[in-house]
């Protein structure tokens, strides 16, 4: 069993530089979990604490049932893939992969079998006698994966493993790593700042900011039900639009008022906010320009002048200003909207998120 549990884990550098104030997290056995967040959010530090490369200042860290705070990296039954590959430059691909097993005094024939098996899976058979400098970036990254694979570790740690690769190779490796997880059935902890990697690979995603976990959830839930403005803005590209709006009561429901627009919402959670300001959040793809949608959602229509229209092929990104606030909409390219056009757009009222303007926590979806 290789679950990972953080119980009130604190990480402090020096005397008072606290990077992680109080981390509580349970990573399930065989799960593919992705730690995501902006630079300096503590995701890599969290991973390095699991690896044993950083000491835990306070709290308890468990791998399975074993408390590993004081266990050296080599005895934690983990393998790690680094951003810079961290291959041994003086060793061949074969030696790089076999090194960890040799240190563990694994019989030679078993080492040979495991290395060749991993090389075969990763399509590295013909490169076994080459040195890392003779390989391309993608091949080096596969060797790094292979080096981790042969050890049959209980936990796989991957620290931004794809960030040094070009876009095409990154997509390719992404699917390879996902396939590897399915094949190996081991716990994977993956650190990235790229939300596409997080969304496409993780069973669950941990969004972090300033060393604090913001939300732990499945990619779909994270996207549809963000728990605060930070998560809502971090996940999704282009990012969610945020508008300052006032809340008014209207009959049995409420309306969100911004600029000259009044959007009705039937959400009892808004009751305490009547007469106050809130933040309205709406994803670019939930703003529509098609006639059919405009007709059925007349009350949530807004008028806008398009500042910039970015043609992306199948869709257009419309950048416009609404009530002095910059917004972006993602509409199908067949709508044929151009820059400087005066257009009518409709917000999908069912997809509106409302955040508390003081705490930035979610009020209702």
């Amino acid at each position: 069993m290789a679950s990972i549990t953080f119980k009130n884990v604190v990480k402090t550098y020096g005397n008072n530089n606290t990077v992680i104030p109080d981390l509580n997290l349970e990573i399930r056995d065989k799960e593919f979990i992705v730690l995501v967040g902006p630079s300096g959010c503590g995701k890599s530090t969290t991973l390095r604490m699991i690896a044993g490369l950083e000491e835990v200042t306070a709290g308890d860290l468990y791998i399975g049932d074993r408390r590993v705070n004081d266990v050296p990296p080599k005895d934690r039954d983990i393998a790690m893939v680094f951003q810079s590959y961290a291959l041994y430059p003086h060793m061949t691909v074969y030696k790089n992969m076999a090194f960890g097993l040799e240190l563990r005094k694994t019989p030679k024939d078993e080492i040979d079998r495991k290395v060749r098996e991993a090389a075969h899976i990763l399509e590295l058979d013909e490169y076994l006698n080459r040195k890392p400098r003779e390989l391309s970036g993608g091949q080096r990254q596969r060797v790094a994966l292979g080096r981790a694979m042969v050890r049959d570790p209980a936990v796989f740690l991957l620290d931004e493993p794809l960030s040094n690769l070009d876009a095409k190779l990154r997509t390719e490796m992404r699917s390879q790593i996902s396939a590897l997880h399915k094949r190996l059935q081991t716990t994977f902890v993956y650190v990235t700042h790229d939300q596409t990697e997080a969304m496409t690979m993780g069973d669950r995603i941990v969004v972090m900011k300033d060393g604090v976990i913001q939300q732990v959830d499945s990619p779909q839930n994270l996207y549809s039900y963000p728990c605060n403005k930070f998560v809502a803005g971090f996940i999704g590209s282009p990012q969610m639009n945020f508008l300052e709006a006032g809340v008014e009561k209207e009959g049995a429901g409420y309306v969100l008022v911004f600029a000259q627009n009044r959007i009705p919402l039937v959400k009892p959670e808004l009751e305490p906010y009547v007469g106050k300001k809130v933040i309205l959040g709406i994803r670019p793809e939930d703003i529509h320009a098609e006639e059919s949608f405009l007709a059925i959602s007349e009350k949530s229509n807004i008028q806008a002048k398009v500042d910039l229209a970015e043609m992306m092929g199948s869709e257009i990104y419309l950048y416009f200003t609404c009530g002095g606030q910059k917004m972006v909409a993602r509409v199908p390219s067949r709508t044929g909207i151009h820059a400087d056009d005066e257009v009518k757009l409709a917000l999908d009222a069912n997809k509106i998120h409302v955040f508390d303007s003081a705490t930035e926590e979610i009020i209702c979806h």
């Binding site: 690896a51 990296p73 680094f82 810079s84 041994y88 003086h90 090194f99 240190l103 080096r147």
Partner: protein
Amino acid sequence: MAKRKKISNINWSILLTILALLYVYPIIMIIFNSLKQETAITTNGAFTLPTSETFAGLANYVNAIESKGFLQSLGYSLLITVTSVAAILICCSMCAWFITRVKSKISQALYFLFVFSMVVPFQMVMFTLSQTADALKLNTPYNIWVIYLGFGAGLAVFMFAGFMKSVPLEVEEASMIDGCNPLQTFFRIVLPMLRPTLVSVGILEAMWVWNDYLLPTLVLDIKKYKTIPMLIQYFRGSYGRVEMGPMMACITLTVIPIVIVYLLGQKHIIKGVAAGAVKG
């Protein structure tokens, strides 16, 4: 423009060729004279090529080897050079690893101390050193490496530390996760990666120790132990008489090993000196 550049290249080539010849000339002169008879060297014939009358064959070499205990001195020189260079390479690379990886005020102070030691002239400390060496029984060819380690450490630590900074920390971390203890990480991962610097430092230190005259003369018991540079001195007899032929032969024999070592490692020395200068 291209023509002008070509002419400038030719000028440089001529100048550098002349300089190279000037550097090589003393060595060629020593080799020629080592093949001449004694009288031919001392009677205004030092600058001429050997002729059929003045050519002495290998007589000077035989004399040099047999008369003054050349082989024994060669043994001492070899012993001192090998032990000193080995000690410098092992201890200083480890020390530089510590200084580079452990970021503390002590390690910083240590580094500056090593660098500072490079600017202290040997002549300033040599007499107290010879007294200390006697007191600590470091005055034999078997122990003198300790003193060489001390004097060689400045340059070696400086060069190793410079290169060590370019060794990515992740590689060491990967080895720790793979199962290495710190010693294994150092000897199996870090040291092989340092090879170009090891060769550079090794050659520089070997040339210095092999050719060093002053330190062994001050420290060693001259009656018992003579290194080759000390031995060469013994071809100067009393009343200003110098056995020029055997002396030249002895110098030639002394130069040969270190030139071979240098030629074998020169490819690495360039790599090593340039290493760490730019991000690879």
